[in-house]
Symmetry: D2
Subunit: 353 residues, 4 copies
């Protein structure tokens, strides 16, 4: 049994619910998220049913958990959620572009990539400081120094930062520097990490595992939601199939399927799924008209020297076409492509683009 | 070694090439297609190389077969092919909609479906008379009677007919009634059938096998091309993956990948890949902006009673939205959505829509 | 509704059943197999139920077809079937080895391979005369000449012949030369071919499609059975997965699963699934102790020069180890490894091994 | 560049190597494992090459890391490794059975399962205290209490304990109670966890991810090895395919492939791959004759009431057949099935079976 409190619930109201449950011989587990508190109950469900918890002040909904996922399901929450990342919305009504380098390599490379990102239509900056790599001998990211570079580039450009966290122990450190925490495909069932980002108070970008069914993906989101964090954006990034012409197979059908099952926003990653630069534009367009709430793409000022996934990064000549496509297709879908206010300071000062 | 003759090559010219090869101790295999004759050579390649066959009258190209597919490759044929089906083009410049019932059940059902097809933007009518079914106890189609119904509905509506052939022995009979022969996913590596449709003189719609790599699909097309028939349209219809929320996974990336590798047109089948009505529109839109030259969809006047694949057929209320989407996205892609001239004869006569 | 007659049913008895059905307004479709006649009924099932067809002379079983496969199901046929190929049994009680070259290339190569086959424990000779090849430019087999070579080697060695047929039109020609017809993985859903081998009067080796579920495989067998031929041996030959270290992934679990669902014998093909010589022995052993009724393997006197699939052929030094393993593991499973009577004629005559 | 020290290397010898590297301007990263110390070098490889590190006291091998995995590769380590778990060997020469309940539920259930395990041929006890579950609402294990129960049952029976750890933060606690740490399929690319178990000083059982290629699996093992821990046993537990008749598809070919590529022992898990009790025996037999160094199976005294994966647990009547099969097939493979010394103390004392 799970109780979702209203955003305006006071501490006293929450305490009252907990005490009521405990008096009935149950245990109450309070999870505090950015906007909501979720109280999980352990004990005799029948007994709880008699408590009329749904009528208590500060309580929004009481749900019996009978089937697989509840908090992220659209069944009890028909209106689609809009997640805000430092003021930038992701959800129905907009198409949001997240762009940046696959890996943060240096301040210059990250700033240059951020400028490309803005030109491509991005309002959020992506960039990896901690890289989960299949081989222990591959470049693993700059770590804390990478986070600092991202924060510096945010200060310079105004772009909020999305970055991956690969270990529960790193969540606090990453949350301190980033505006949105990414859980990567390889960690989609790292339950300790899911619970940690669920407690972090930061919006989460949850990538689908390469071999995860849509149901398993939504259950992974439920792990985050259970800790009180419903600010989750799902990201389809390609699944593993027998086809070898692409790195992974973008499951574009997952976009409408997820939107049918869940109220959470869903975006696509055309860079990692295709693994080839020339597929980024077609797949981005496909994702948006399939209904995606946004895209996340790799841009790199000089892909040939990239330390990670260079072959799939968009280059300057694709950038304007990306921005044009996203704007027109957003309009076709009845949405708006958000644009970053371009900083132009004359006279020795910062100037973007 | 393969010789492609020019469309204007005379019989005498072709005979001269064959004799030249035979005098050199080789065997020449002449394949006559709709527009072109292809001559395959067996024997000592080095010796043929000395014959200067490329200079003989009527010869367009001489290709050494070193890698996997040649005739359908874009390598030697950079301009993209437009295939015409009874005057209706499929290829760069247009978005072509093929629509109709999954299975032909009766004259009325087929005519009603054809009217829906026209409203949805279709210029070609699909409909199955021979149905390859996984179970021997499932409805196998009306056979010859189904072909006749399709021909009657073509006479009534003016829509050329695309229909599946499931056995090499049936190719002549089907070719007599249809304007385009479809080879289904389960038969993609039925090489006898591929060769038979290659000799048929009719355009071929070649569906990708559910577990076929893109390379295997192009090699299957090469089997058809080798018999002299280059009027091949490829159709991505979903591949088999672990995901169970959809019947198959539409591999939308296959569209740009195929266009990079081959000069043949490629369309998508959103009905059979998704297996669910509500996915047809999003996937159709995704396919077109990924660059597809068209779509093939199921429409049924009364899906609840369909003998085959009812749950995925578009119904009347989706139809106008489909036509609008296709027209707008075609324009976005710099293409035209062809529209069927709607027959309106006042006074007792036929009237469509 | 399907009627299986007893093996001793007379023509008069069969005719009586057909007439009874027709008098009731139904249609009866008689399929004559090697050992049994199957009569399929079309019409009003309820009315047939009143005819008491199960009591008519010559009738073995009457089955209502409600679920997917019936004739090959173990539900109504708990005892496991033994299929005999020119006197060689495949089924419970024995482990049968089928061996020979992937492709028939010459009389010498085929005879040498047959000798290796016998040494390896084989009692049936495999060899491809018609090869379904992904590429139209790959070696397609010797065709009729290949069949003749196989028949000559059979005369020489006494080994009955198993060979693939790739087109419904070739079934009669192949059946004339071979003792068992193989339907390959790519043709598992070539329904015209399934029906043709079902009518052929020859035992059939039905390979599982690379992407076929076990249910689809059994339904393909049902297509054959429906034409009156229950002499079907199933062959697991690997499925297509993401793993690239092996050509396909041998689904060894399919052996016990099939034996649970169907009464048909099932063997495995360790050569084509692994695609590597060093996997043939381990996978053969694994198949037998998983319960397989036999194995089918490639042997080649000189793999380095093989025109087809050389890298996976066993060579002489593996052969004795194979025979020893099969004999010991057959004993462990309570079965017998059949051995071919080795021909030793002194004085100028033939001598094998 | 990686330096593997000899087991007898002293601290002074190790320090000398580190200093030598640092004087050359490099960084040395010392990883201390159970038996060996591994020193990773960062810096100018060419310069290191001049230091003649391989000749320094205490140094066993110096390897340049050019390709994917090195420490676990058989290339530089042709003899196969035997891993000892509290005195129980896993490797060439033996077949080791690990058995026990999927999840620890109570002291009684665990003790009863341990007795079944011994009867089945087990010399190691498995049991889950921390369960990674797809759904947050599924039973997640007893945690620390589960570890304590396992330790109690070890004291009672003498069986060393293998148990899963699902978070890097739990490694110390689990290592305190267990004799071998299991990394589950969902965590195969949880790199923080891999590094933590690599530092733990305990042998590790590394399950293959459901969608992991063999190469990715060996790279995951390399992450562990890189932290100085080469006591790794690999476990094939089924991969995700399209087949739905089994929970996963046991990739039995992976056993010989891994043994060809790596010196590490490899076992199979027939319980989780098949997901059905009746497949456990056939798959166990198949694994052993494919060359596996052991098996890990679920046994439960009362599967009907199991909180986790009951349908796949062996029950009492299968147990003796398992022990007999393993002993006979071990002998066939030239190995020994280890047997646990059965405790029989008369007069009020402990007695097993």
């Amino acid at each position: 049994m799970v109780i979702v409190t209203s955003p305006s619930a006071t501490e006293a109201e929450i305490r009252a619910v907990v005490e009521c449950v405990e008096r009935a011989g149950g245990e109450a587990f309070v999870s505090r998220g950015v906007r909501q508190v979720v109280i999980g109950l352990l004990g005799d469900v029948e007994r709880f049913a008699g408590l009329n918890l749904g009528r208590m002040p500060g309580v929004n909904r009481v749900m019996r958990i009978t089937s697989s996922y509840k908090l992220v399901s659209r069944e009890h929450h028909p209106e689609r959620t809009v997640v805000e990342v430092a003021g930038v919305p992701i959800g129905a009504g907009t198409v949001t572009v997240i762009a940046g380098p696959c890996a943060v390599e240096s301040p210059e490379q990250t700033l240059d990539a951020a400028k490309l990102a803005i030109r491509s239509g991005a309002t959020l900056l992506r960039g990896g400081a901690f890289k989960p790599r299949t081989s222990p001998y591959a470049f693993q990211g700059l770590g804390l120094r990478g986070l600092q570079i991202l924060a510096e580039v945010r200060a310079e450009t105004g772009l909020p930062v999305v970055t991956e966290v690969i270990s529960a122990d790193d969540v606090d450190m990453v949350a301190e520097h980033a505006d949105m925490l990414q859980v990567g495909a390889r960690n989609m069932q790292n339950f300790a990490l899911l619970q940690a980002v669920g407690r972090s108070g930061k919006p989460v970008l949850l990538k689908r595992g390469m071999n995860a069914t849509i149901e398993e993906w939504l259950l992974a989101a439920e792990y985050i939601a259970q800790r009180g964090n419903l600010d989750i954006v799902l990201c389809e990034r390609g699944i593993r199939t027998f086809e070898r012409a692409t790195r992974n197979t973008l499951d574009v059908s997952a976009v409408p399927v997820v939107q049918y099952l869940s109220h959470l926003p869903v975006i696509i990653d055309p860079s990692h799924s295709g693994g080839r630069r020339e597929l980024v534009l077609p797949l981005s367009r496909a994702g948006v008209v399939a209904g995606a709430d946004g895209i996340i793409i790799d841009v790199h000022p000089d892909p040939a020297t990239a330390l990670c996934d260079g072959p799939q990064a968009l280059i300057a000549e694709d950038i304007d076409e990306m921005a044009r496509s996203m704007a027109e297709l957003a309009a076709f879908m009845g949405r708006t492509l958000l644009r970053h206010p371009i900083v132009r300071v004359v006279g020795g000062d910062r100037r973007i683009v």
